[in-house]
């Protein structure tokens, strides 16, 4: 049986791991390769590296980091952040990334999804969507959640699927950093209306939140950062708890 995935997310700036609370106030949480190896050994199913470097130099560091991660880590990993061209993706996949995630660049140029899928296949193209619920409506946001758009989350998600993306990583801006649980209502709607896997992101605080997002949110995978980085939740304990709740996991 296909299991539900637990995915630690490592925010990367200039080759170091950081985690923003509500995407500001960065805290340093260690060396990415070392952290990735620890997570792989502790039962993480997959890893996401999100590059928040704004400079060209930072981006070159990322390609090098991907190569170092691929050398050491025996589980799949996704790389995202600032990717805007077929060439960017080519370098990252060539260096050993299993999947890439695109976000703002897909909203600005939706054809990029089709181009990437045609060249590399659906299986390695994840579209990340940051959205915020404003007056009851979920609006897509850009640039790490800073810039609002008029795009509706569900309309955009369906277009993303139609253009061939293999997976959607949905982050609720209302929940991210709150540790109050995932946006399960929106997640369940995405998971029901679409036929590609949905990764839940934003709001993990307790083990119960993970159970809830798999049961109520119908998520295929759940992503979190600080609860793992600061050892508030151990992945092994989390998976045992999920198993007790009859959620299929890899133990």
């Amino acid at each position: 049986m296909l299991t539900k995935r637990i995915i630690p997310c490592l925010d990367i700036k200039n080759g170091r791991t950081v985690k923003g609370i509500n995407f500001v106030d960065l805290r340093d949480a260690g060396d990415p390769v070392e952290l990735a190896e620890i997570y792989a050994k502790s039962g993480a199913d997959e890893l996401v590296f999100l590059d928040i470097s704004a400079t060209e130099e930072g981006r070159r560091t990322l390609a090098d980091l991907v190569l170092r991660v691929a050398e050491k880590v025996n589980i799949p990993f996704t790389v995202g952040g600032g990717i805007s061209s077929v060439k960017d993706v080519d370098i990252l996949l060539h260096n050993g990334a299993d999947k890439v995630s695109i976000n703002s660049s897909a909203v600005k140029n939706p054809q990029l999804i089709n181009d990437l899928v045609a060249k590399f296949g659906s299986q390695c193209i994840v579209v990340a969507i940051d959205a915020k619920q404003i007056d009851g409506e979920w609006k897509v946001h850009l640039v790490g959640g800073k810039v609002p758009t008029e795009l509706n989350l569900f309309t955009w998600a369906k277009e993303v699927e139609k253009r061939g993306a293999g997976e959607i990583l949905f982050t609720s801006m209302n929940h991210d950093g709150t540790k109050d649980g995932f946006a399960n209502e929106a997640l369940a709607k995405l998971s029901t209306e679409l036929n590609i896997p949905i990764i839940a992101s934003g709001g993990a605080g307790t083990m119960q939140h993970f159970t809830d997002t798999f049961v109520e949110g119908k998520a295929d995978a759940a992503l979190a950062a600080s609860v793992f980085h600061f050892k508030e939740i151990e992945i092994k304990d989390l998976k045992e708890e999920l198993k007790r709740n009859n959620i299929p996991v890899r133990l």
């Binding site: 049986m1 199913d45 691929a70 025996n74 996949l93 299993d98 293999g166 590609i196 896997p197 890899r250």
Partner: protein, 196 residues
């Protein structure tokens, strides 16, 4: 031990190379028919779309070499699918090593299947010391149905082939290079498999 990974422009070959490196073996990337034929073990990788990958293979004339290889050959993911008779994806004619037609998952399940699934009904030396129901990592939209050459099964809406074997040819739908310790054991078993 000379391990050659067939480099025809389709596949996450870096990860496979690193996986062998972690096991203490150096794998060479090559598209040269002589180098491939002289290898002790051959890895046939592949990700992406079937018809374009098959086109690349034909352009390099490797489609004529691979079916004639006598040493152990391991096709991974799309590599395994291209070793089959055909694929529904892009109406692709395969290498015909495995006598099975690759078809698409129905939309009763989410497509692609992404993640860790369990392998069962394990047969052949590829799964020496691997327990039933171990988890392996897969990403795919098309699958090979269960057939005579099936040596491992997985379940996703229906039972299908997680691995195939015929003579010296092995194929895994899953990615052993990304399947943690279990995958490493399977790669090691492939290295230890009989030379012909």
């Amino acid at each position: 031990m000379k391990i050659v990974i067939i480099d025809y422009g389709a596949g996450n070959i870096q990860s496979i190379k690193f996986a062998f490196q972690r096991l203490g073996y150096e794998a060479i990337l090559s598209s040269d028919a002589d180098v491939i034929m002289a290898a002790d073990k051959v890895i046939f990788p592949g990700v992406g779309e079937a018809s374009s990958a098959m086109k690349k293979l034909r352009e390099s004339k490797l489609d004529l070499i691979i079916p004639k290889l006598k040493q152990p050959v391991l096709g991974i993911c799309l590599g395994m699918q291209l070793m089959c008779h055909s694929s529904e994806e892009g109406a692709t004619e395969g290498l015909g090593i495995f006598d099975v037609d690759v078809v698409k998952f129905s939309n009763k399940v989410k497509v692609p299947q992404i993640g860790w699934n369990q392998i069962t009904n394990l047969k052949s030396d590829l799964f020496n010391n691997i327990k039933e129901k171990e988890h392996i990592y897969l990403v795919h939209s098309f699958y090979a149905p269960i057939c005579e050459e099936t040596i491992a099964e997985a379940e996703y809406g229906l039972g299908y082939s997680a691995a195939l074997k015929k003579d010296n040819f092995y194929g895994t739908q899953f990615h052993p290079e990304k399947s943690s310790e279990v995958g490493e054991k399977i790669l090691k078993n492939f290295i230890d498999s009989a030379t012909s």
